[in-house]
């Protein structure tokens, strides 16, 4: 039988490792309005308006969201403490850091994107003979609804949904610590719904179908 806690942890961990855009280790400075660079391009690195970014190598490493992108300048909501240019710093945008995980509270901020997680279970059954010791399959979905800051366009949602679907590409295998595994399904692949704008937010739902395999064990 499938250990749902392990399945959930594996799917969540994979999603949390998502990278949508990154500067890599770069020479960056913090300005009153965001971040600046003298070489390379924030646009080429994949940053778009509405993404949240996690800074490393700076004094101020609070997560923030992008309000404007230029090749050498990122403007953010709220601004930063000014810090001179330094090397080995990174700015990374991935799965929004504000996450409404299953049965956990989240109070969204109007200037930060966030995601809602769910993991509905699908059909299941023993697939091989003899059934008492056969292979047991459990289907399920990993569903992430990505909320974007109002009026920031479709870029952050499109890029985020695409990156998430790629990270869970069909036939990606996630091994669990109990020796069982999850395969992202190929007969029904990952999909993203249309963007819905409502009540000051825009959102897209990404559906990632998986199938977990384990062995049926009949208790004595």
């Amino acid at each position: 039988m499938i250990d749902l806690a392990l399945v959930r942890a594996a799917l969540r961990s994979r999603a949390e490792g998502l990278v949508v855009a990154s500067t890599g280790a770069a020479t960056l400075s913090a300005t009153a309005t965001g971040y600046a660079r003298t070489s390379g391009s924030f646009i080429d690195d994949g940053f778009v308006v509405g993404q949240d970014i996690t800074p490393t190598g700076f004094t101020q490493t609070t997560v923030c969201a992008i309000s404007k992108v230029e090749a050498s300048m990122l403007t953010i909501y709220g601004g930063r403490t000014v810090q001179a240019s330094g090397s080995g710093r990174t700015l990374v945008s991935g799965l929004p850091t504000m996450r409404a995980l299953v049965n956990e509270d989240l109070t969204p901020s109007v200037v930060m994107p966030y995601v809602v997680e769910s993991m509905p279970l699908g059909g299941s059954g023993v697939q091989t003979i003899p059934g008492r010791t056969g292979r047991f399959q459990q289907d399920g979905l990993s569903v992430w609804t990505w909320y974007a800051i109002a009026k920031t366009g479709a870029g952050a949602l499109d890029k985020g949904a695409t990156a998430l679907m790629k990270r869970f590409a069909p036939y990606t295998r996630l091994s669990l610590s109990d020796g069982t595994y999850i395969d992202m399904r190929g007969d029904v692949g990952p999909s993203a719904g249309d963007i819905i704008s409502e009540a000051g937010w825009a959102r897209v739902t990404v559906t990632l179908p998986w199938r977990a395999s384990s062995w049926n064990v009949v208790a004595a």
């Binding site: 409404a100 769910s118 509905p120 699908g122 059909g123 289907d139 979905l141 609804t145 937010w201």
Partner: protein, 125 residues
């Protein structure tokens, strides 16, 4: 009757039986999809639509478009948030004692299981 005519009769009978079987399976799969989306299914794991005033569940209208196309659809604006389990302010709370979220997605993901089930049942005829 010559051997050619006999073969033609056999082939014609086989084709007719195959066509009838295909139709039974097609109709059976459509019925199982409808059940899964509306009321839930042990085959797909879908819980079906939640029920408050019993408006959403019967709003899914099945329709045969042609010999090989069938669809079920609803035009209720709140069907989508119920399907995704989210609204404009985040995750929804399920208050209905029956049904759940994601029934269309789970039915789609369970399509192969539905077909396998219907074919298996048909073979028992």
């Amino acid at each position: 009757m010559g051997i050619g005519a006999q073969m033609k009769d056999i082939a014609g009978g086989f084709t007719a039986r195959l066509s009838a079987k295909n139709k039974r399976i097609f109709v059976g799969v459509a019925a199982e999809i409808q059940r899964s989306v509306q009321s839930g299914s042990e085959i797909t794991g879908a819980k079906g639509q939640p029920v408050d005033k019993n408006v959403l569940r019967p709003s899914f209208i099945p329709e045969f478009i042609d010999d090989v196309t069938w669809q079920t659809s609803t035009n209720l604006p709140y069907a989508r948030p119920i399907e995704d389990g989210v609204g404009p302010y985040g995750a929804l709370t399920l208050r209905s004692k029956v049904g759940g979220f994601h029934s269309v997605k789970l039915t789609k993901a369970g399509y192969g299981r539905i077909v396998a089930h219907v074919v298996s049942e048909d073979q028992k005829r």
